[in-house]
């Protein structure tokens, strides 16, 4: 197993760091899956995570100037590592000024992702900074848990409202209730609702638009006014919104009625999917 990559473009380094930081806000640990063409940050929707799933896909060519990897075997040409994204984020933040940053899979006292960079100083001699971020190798027999999730058969797909507004509303709703209902229809309307003994609050978003997945994607006979809804743990939704540092080019929400909320954010070279299961 071998992996070495090099980032030389400061914008790419910045962007990569931002992505890793966003992931670190979504989950404490996750799996980093390295393939010849892509990097994936994956959280499998296990009960231990509260059933929350995450799939973040980056095209390596958009970030790395040099990228070489050799997987577990020629047939299984991938490397899966369990990482704590915050450690990675912290290390990357310290090398933002570097001319080049190298990322390498190494074996110190344990397997590590080593981040190494030369930082400019006032004198002619550069300062070399090395961070060894410990990782766990995920054995081949567990790889099936980290496959690309299948797009759920959703009832409604809608574009999300401005994330900033959504975050303000969800932040306040979290003070009032543990659970929140997200509902949307094919008329571009979305409501966020909470209801407790003390108070009920409903925020109405309209004219959001519905993504054109194709006529056969959602059931064709569905009435445009009919709402599909899912009741979720408000902290999961808040966690997703807290992590968003950059405005995506496309933000969508697919709802499986009383099943799951599937959030999709598309940036130029990164896609992020987040699955929040519905609770009773």
């Amino acid at each position: 197993m071998k992996f070495r990559g090099k980032i030389v473009d400061v914008a790419c380094l910045n962007h990569f760091t931002r992505v890793v930081t966003t992931i670190s806000k979504l989950t404490k640990t996750c799996v980093l899956r390295l393939t010849p063409d892509n990097l994936f940050f994956v959280l499998s929707g296990k009960v231990a995570n509260g059933g929350v799933g995450m799939w973040c896909e980056l095209s390596q060519a958009n970030f790395f100037d040099e990228y070489q990897m050799e997987g577990v075997s020629p047939e299984d040409n991938e490397i899966l590592l369990e990482v704590t994204p915050e450690n990675l984020s912290r290390a990357l933040k310290t090398v933002q000024n570097a001319k080049a940053v190298k990322v390498k899979l190494t074996k110190k006292h344990c397997p590590c992702l080593t981040i190494a960079a030369e930082l400019p100083t006032l004198s002619s001699v550069s300062r070399v900074v090395t961070h060894d971020v410990p990782v766990d190798i995920v054995p081949r027999r567990l790889w099936h848990e980290f496959k690309e999730p299948i797009m759920p058969d959703f009832d409604v797909s809608v574009y999300l409202p401005p994330l900033k507004t959504m975050k303000s509303v969800v932040d306040r709703m979290k003070n009032l209730s543990n659970f929140l209902v997200i509902e949307a229809n094919l008329n571009g309307q979305m409501n966020l609702k909470i209801e407790t003994d003390l108070v009920s609050v409903t925020t109405h978003f309209k004219d959001l638009g519905n993504p054109p997945w194709g006529d056969d994607a959602a059931s064709p006979s569905r009435e445009s006014e009919a709402m599909a809804e899912a009741r979720v743990d408000v902290r999961r939704l808040q966690q997703f919104l807290v992590g968003q540092q950059v405005n995506p080019s496309r933000a969508m929400c697919n709802i499986v009625h009383q099943g799951v909320v599937h959030l999709i954010l598309l940036h130029e070279d990164v896609s992020l999917q987040y699955f929040i299961p519905a609770v009773a």
Binding site: P161, T165, S168, V169, V199, V201, T203, H204, K206
Partner: protein, 285 residues
């Protein structure tokens, strides 16, 4: 005190005809003109709302020794319609503030949340319609029968000492108050030290003196030397009101009861009042 739940009120679009059902409708183009002043009296969960044709009075009390009132006159509202002489109810103030600030409550210039507050009368929830940038939020907050606010029997004829100060001069001392002191002592006198705030904490005693001819002193009417102590924990919340205000009047009566009245200007420069009444902790001669 009984808790009443709302009948299932249909969420119809707001039209003038629907207002028939409400005994109180109050509208603001900028919800901050209500939420900011309410923040100045939020030290307990529950608040008593009393509305009259003159406007809104919101009362919060603590352990029968402290009362804070916020007054928002009818003229502050873009619309203020009341069908009875007195409409009263009690709500959870922290819930109300979360609702008023549902869109974030930050002061971005040019952006404000519009508010329409409606109350159907006894047994109905307090309904808020909030709108910002085309997004509408509807809140229904359960109400309770209002408690009777305490009458501290503080009347101007009984006032022994009164000063009016510019709030600027009190803001720093109040924010620095030694919280290890159990009491805040206020001395008012026609002679030295005129007006003095004192604390007695772990690091020692601290005194803040305000001479009667100070620039900050707008009015000085002290007839008798009085020193009174008030529980620090009771007065500390008044710091929020002080922070919002431009002027404060400090009055004590013959029993040593304290009245603090704050002149607050809202976002649009209009004037509202907040007052605090506090019982003395003990008599100090």
């Amino acid at each position: 005190m009984c808790l009443r739940f709302s009948a299932a009120m249909p969420l119809s679009t707001q039209s003038q005809a629907d207002d028939e059902q409400y005994v109180l409708v109050a509208s603001l183009d900028n919800a901050r003109n209500l939420s900011n002043i309410l923040k100045a009296i939020t030290f307990k969960d529950h608040a008593i709302f009393n509305a009259t044709p003159n406007g809104l009075k919101v009362t919060v009390e603590d352990s029968k020794c402290l009362q804070a009132n916020a007054f928002i006159q009818a003229e502050i509202f873009q619309e203020f319609t009341i069908k009875e002489d007195l409409v009263g109810f009690q709500v959870n103030l922290t819930v109300l503030l979360d609702c008023l600030n549902i869109f974030g409550g930050s002061s971005v210039p040019g952006v404000s949340t519009a508010l329409r507050m409606c109350y159907g009368g006894y047994g109905f929830p307090l309904t808020l319609f909030l709108e910002e940038g085309g997004v509408v939020t509807v809140c229904k907050i359960n109400t309770q029968e209002p408690d009777e606010p305490i009458d501290f029997e503080f009347c101007s004829t009984n006032v022994t000492n009164k000063v009016i100060l510019q709030s600027e001069s009190l803001k720093e001392p109040f924010s620095e108050l030694d919280m290890t002191s159990e009491v805040l002592q206020i001395t008012m006198s026609p002679s030295q030290p005129y007006f003095r705030l004192s604390t007695f904490g772990n690091s020692g005693n601290a005194h803040y003196d305000y001479p009667k001819d100070s620039d900050m002193m707008e009015l000085f009417q002290c007839t008798k030397t009085q020193t009174n102590r008030y529980k620090m924990s009771l007065l500390k919340p008044s710091t929020k009101a002080l922070a919002l205000s431009c002027k404060v009047s400090v009055r004590t009566d013959s029993r040593g009861f304290l009245s603090l009245q704050y002149l607050v200007r809202n976002d649009d420069g209009q004037i509202c009042f907040v007052e605090y009444y506090c019982c003395p902790d003990e008599e100090v001669e």
